[in-house]
Symmetry: C2
Subunit: 683 residues, 2 copies
């Protein structure tokens, strides 16, 4: 059990502070004095219970939940409208309306979902409005998600570790099995559902020995219980699977996707799983990637591999989510003709149209691997007959590992808003991912979780904003970063305007600041190998991972142009391709991703590359110190333990930023021999 | 149990091949038809048994062992002469003489030890002569060891791992406890004793939780059995101890060396240990080094710490071996005034004369950490009133990890022959280490073992030569590298002259070749962090370990001169100090250890630094390929499995040398911008 001190930030954005404004509190209390559910479904019960608890905590009066409406008492009615009347809301939409009362009838707030899941989202919407102190007496809300699939990927291992986890151990597993107490899993489900998440894969995409068995009878009973916990919040359970399972646990001699025995084996596994978990979501697959087994072993391609599983799941309505993170991870650093950035596009565009209807390709936002700055993957725009989801990384593997604050919503917004020009202007990534552009049956967003058993879930309390923001963007990618930020602050830290200003500024500037003192101008990868924390300019330079900057005494960058480089720039449609391919037009922040230039090359900013490196690194350290200073002004305004926890992380960030600055600046000063124009100390 | 195939190289230099020359075989058989021991002691029995087995295997006739000599039968007599008549042989010396027969008396070989341990060494000497096909009918040998202490340090952990071990798991421990079967430990004792080793510490100097308990009653019984195994071969058992033991396992609040309770506690532990193991050797201690606890915690110094343990052991004749590997391992790389190379000298010379008589300081050969090339530690020559042993590293941590062949005897010879000028010309390290120069009661050599449970003990069969060579040098540091090499080859691979030529050439050139394709000119440390395998020029450059090369676009090296550098060169006596301090006189191979120079600096060899780097790296790769080619000529001449094992390692070395070449050359080409004069391919 956690004690109060340990619970810092545990409630996250479902923190129901008592409403201080008496008038407002009374209004909320009055409007919500009774909660009526119109049907007896699990999700309507969840919705009513969540709303009752929230209202109770915020107003001091917990409303009664009933199934019979007394028309003379103001109430919140939670019901299901059914698909027939949905005005294009899809099956997860909802309306939220204040129905004015009359002579015989009290005012009523109606939360009507197209499905009971929609109603649950409506209830969380109403809760959010009250948390933010919004009026609820004239509600006219109509909402439906932009994306059908809004999934979270856990990279949890059954030994309790989390790959790229920076917030403690797994809340799912311990010592090789599932945890005994599911309380924390349920609380996680609440948090996710409140932002609109509707699916979760609960084991690492690198599926190890024990995890391979998750699809067997051994784990049926436990998985069914876990599925129930998530199911009560409208979240479908997915499992990452091992493509070699037929051999590893099936006793077969092959995992060849075209082998009849293999197909039969997977079909049986699917049947077993759906018998135990009727609303099971499907499989997430990392195959032929970083030493994971896959169809290549049998001379088959990714379509063969994905369709094998799709065939097994189709009778039950299940999905195959097939990751596109496929590249040669045994590259020779001497070989400049092979370009890892090109790999996903080269592997998957030839297969466009060959995937079954219940297959979805999961594509990382960039062509490399969640660097602080990358261009958008050209695979978005390279597929028009294939379901796709955009994969983001909430866990801050390359962006400060939740020791540094790095609010990623602005980065994700840039990705979602990127215009691929695939079907003319306006062919933005969000429209491709959602399926809207090509009218695909499935689409959405996926993201790697940043939570663990740490008290505040995310190690750094401010990193909660990334998890929240991901859910909100997955629901509605048109929301601005500012809107999401404001919401998160009000929900998590209250409605003090000074706090809001300060925290908002910290969050919205943080990505840029992190970028400024780490690897410059889009080149990426200047981190320590393996754990990826801290500066190491040559850390991935002479490696097998396809991750190079080619810095010499004259210049730096990767020539990915069409004429003289690897040709990667040609994987984009004409408009972005021409920009990236042009030394003059390529945006500064991606210059070294696309071009090899001398240190004396003058950027669009007017600075030389070398001076840009020096300046951003000195400025970045100052800015990091500024984040801490800004936070310090909030002492007394927020819970002290929370305050101190954030302050200690910001202090660490501020110190570590200096290490980044000095290593990067020293490296380039020693290599280029070019002095800093401002004569600052470089070692 | 190992099968025949698994046993490749298991017998090492105690491989008793049948003598092919019939005449010689008959001579040996005749001379050794009976073995007579003159007293009943454990070691004389061991000596007789070893000799009987050897003669049996080599001649086909295993001699009888008896205690009654029949003067008419040719025999080998093994006996003890006693200290009175030893002609300055010390208590471990022996004579080995052929006593001609007479009318009534047959010829006899007399192995007479000053002690029974001496007799055992004499028996192994006789065995060695027969293995090498030497005549034994006119023996007039007198031998005694140059060094009193000839100790092996195992860095084995009780979980079965070995720190810096490259030959499998521990032969001592498994899964947190001792192994059940001591056969392999006994076979190790035989190998060690046959080279003259007389002491062994059996646990890692980094003493972890379970290992801390080795000095408690819990392990008494087992330790006593292990001590018996080694004792039968004249090898004393030492334990590495945790300086914080009084707290960790003693229930005390402090480990302060001046605290009476602490002193009492250690005295009791010593009493207990000697009750269980009457010939226990003593303690090996790594304190206040790389996060290990030590006297600094209590404001005490190393003399206080060592004397605490010395006081506890003195009543029982035990020794404290105190390591001098003490430096700041949390250094700021920006700080150029602190020099790790200076640390041992700075810490220990002020304490000269303050250590108890049964304390021995164990000093690494160089001031850094077993790099392929370092100067000799100036601490040799800095202490005249303190017992010292020279610490060498047989396990190839920085010298190819037993994947590369790197025969270290030539390196050790350079160290032993180095003249410190501490007491005038001729004050060589071997005389300081042995105690001869300052007439110290204790002295000798220590070395970190390179063995594990690998079939051939050392991973790379040729690495056995390092273990053998260490033992032989510890016994007699005047032996030349060539002599030792010839011995090892004849004992291990037989007496084919072609084999001897080829293997001798491989071994004797190997250190130089390894040096040529790795870090240049004595600068060291261009390895991957942590595991230390493979090239990484900046791997330790921006680290906390005090290990830098300071390469920029103009030059490289560490200025350790007296005038402009860290002053390290001033820690030597005048003669070597002046040489190292001089840019002109400093030997090329240590230039970058002592001086920061431009890449265009011309070496004594006539080449520039940068051209030297290019040339040695290209040549080194060719030479590594040459080692493989040379070995290939031996196919059919030696056991095929042994041949293939070595061939596969040499192939790996040859490939890996290219990786070294290309990373190092590319790094310096990119940084300096200076072309290779020969225009070879640099990436």
């Amino acid at each position: 059990m956690m004690n109060a001190q340990d619970k810092i930030g545990y409630d996250a954005w479902l923190r129901y502070a008592s409403i201080e404004n008496g008038e407002l509190r009374e209004e909320y209390r009055a409007c919500c004095s009774v909660i009526v559910i119109t049907e007896q479904t699990k999700l309507l019960h969840t919705a009513a219970r969540e709303l009752a608890e929230a209202v109770g905590a915020m107003t001091g009066h917990k409303p009664e939940v009933t199934s019979v409406r007394d028309r003379q008492v103001p109430s919140v009615m939670i019901g299901i409208k059914g698909k027939g009347d949905t005005d294009g809301l899809g099956d997860e939409g909802y309306t939220l309306q204040t129905l004015e009362g009359g002579q015989e009838e009290a005012e009523c707030i109606a939360i009507i979902g197209v499905s009971d899941r929609g109603a649950l989202y409506g209830a969380f919407h109403l809760i959010r409005l009250m948390q933010m102190g919004e009026p609820i007496n004239k509600l006219q809300v109509k909402e439906s998600p932009a994306n059908g699939l809004r999934i979270i990927n856990q990279w949890d291992n059954m030994d309790g570790s989390i790959e790229r986890g920076y917030a403690g151990k797994s809340i799912f597993y311990d010592s090789g099995g599932f945890v005994k107490d599911f309380t924390r899993i349920r609380d996680y489900a609440r948090l996710l559902a409140s932002t609109g998440i509707n699916a979760i894969s609960i084991n690492n995409v690198n599926v190890h020995r024990e995890e391979t068995k998750l699809i067997t009878a051994e784990y049926e009973r436990t998985l069914s219980k876990v599925a129930d916990v998530f199911g009560a919040y409208g979240i479908k359970l997915f499992l990452s699977i091992n493509f070699a399972s037929p051999i590893a646990i099936g006793g077969l001699q092959t995992a060849d996707p075209l082998d009849p025995e293999v197909r039969k084996w997977w079909a049986e596994r699917a049947e077993d799983l759906y018998r135990a978990i009727p609303d099971f979501g499907g499989f997430l697959v990392k195959a032929d990637s970083e030493f994971r087994p896959g169809p290549f072993t049998y001379g088959r391609d990714h379509a063969d591999g994905a369709n094998l599983l799709a065939e097994a799941l189709a009778p039950h309505g299940g999905l195959v989510i097939w990751r596109c993170f496929v590249y040669n991870c045994l590259q020779d650093w001497r070989d400049r003709s092979t370009d890892r950035a090109k790999a996903a596009y080269d592997h998957f565009t030839p297969l466009d149209g060959r995937f079954a209807d219940n297959v979805i390709l999961q594509i990382k936002n960039g062509p490399m691997d969640f660097q602080v700055r990358e261009p958008v993957s050209p695979l978005f725009g390279g597929l028009s007959h294939t379901n796709q989801v955009l994969e983001l990384q909430i866990t801050q593997e390359y962006t400060g590992q939740q020791k540094h604050v790095c609010y990623l919503v602005p980065q994700w917004k840039e990705v979602l808003d990127f215009d691929t020009f695939a079907a003319g202007k306006g062919s933005t990534v969000d429209k491709i991912a959602s399926g809207a552009l090509y009218n695909r049956p499935y689409g959405g967003l996926a993201a790697v979780s940043n939570i663990g058993d740490d008290a505040c879930w995310t190690g750094h309390p401010l990193a909660q904003a990334n998890l929240y923001g991901y859910g909100r963007l997955a629901w509605n990618s048109a929301l601005s970063a500012e809107q999401i930020t404001t919401e998160w602050i009000r929900l998590s830290l209250g409605r003090d305007p000074v706090t809001e200003d300060v925290v908002s500024s910290i969050l919205l500037r943080s990505w840029g600041i992190y970028e400024s003192y780490t690897s410059p101008l889009g080149v990426g990868w200047m981190v320590n190998p393996n754990h990826h924390y801290g500066p190491n300019v040559d850390g991935y330079e002479y490696s097998k991972w396809g991750t190079y900057h080619f810095a010499d005494h004259q210049g730096i960058g990767v020539d990915r142009t069409i004429g003289t480089g690897t040709g990667y720039a040609g994987q984009y449609h004409t408009q972005p391709s021409e920009i990236y391919n042009s030394l003059e037009r390529c945006p500064d922040e991606l210059l070294l991703f696309f071009h090899h230039v001398p240190y004396t090359h003058v950027l669009q900013s007017g600075k030389t590359v070398i001076q840009h490196i020096y300046d951003t690194h000195f400025d970045g350290v100052d800015a990091a110190a500024g984040l801490l200073a800004a936070w310090q002004t909030l002492r007394g305004k927020i819970d002290n333990a929370y305050f101190e926890l954030v302050a200690s992380r910001l202090t660490e960030q501020s110190e570590h930023a200096k290490e980044w600055r000095d290593v990067i600046n020293t490296y380039f000063y020693r290599k280029s021999g070019i002095d800093d124009r401002q004569g600052r100390l470089i070692y």
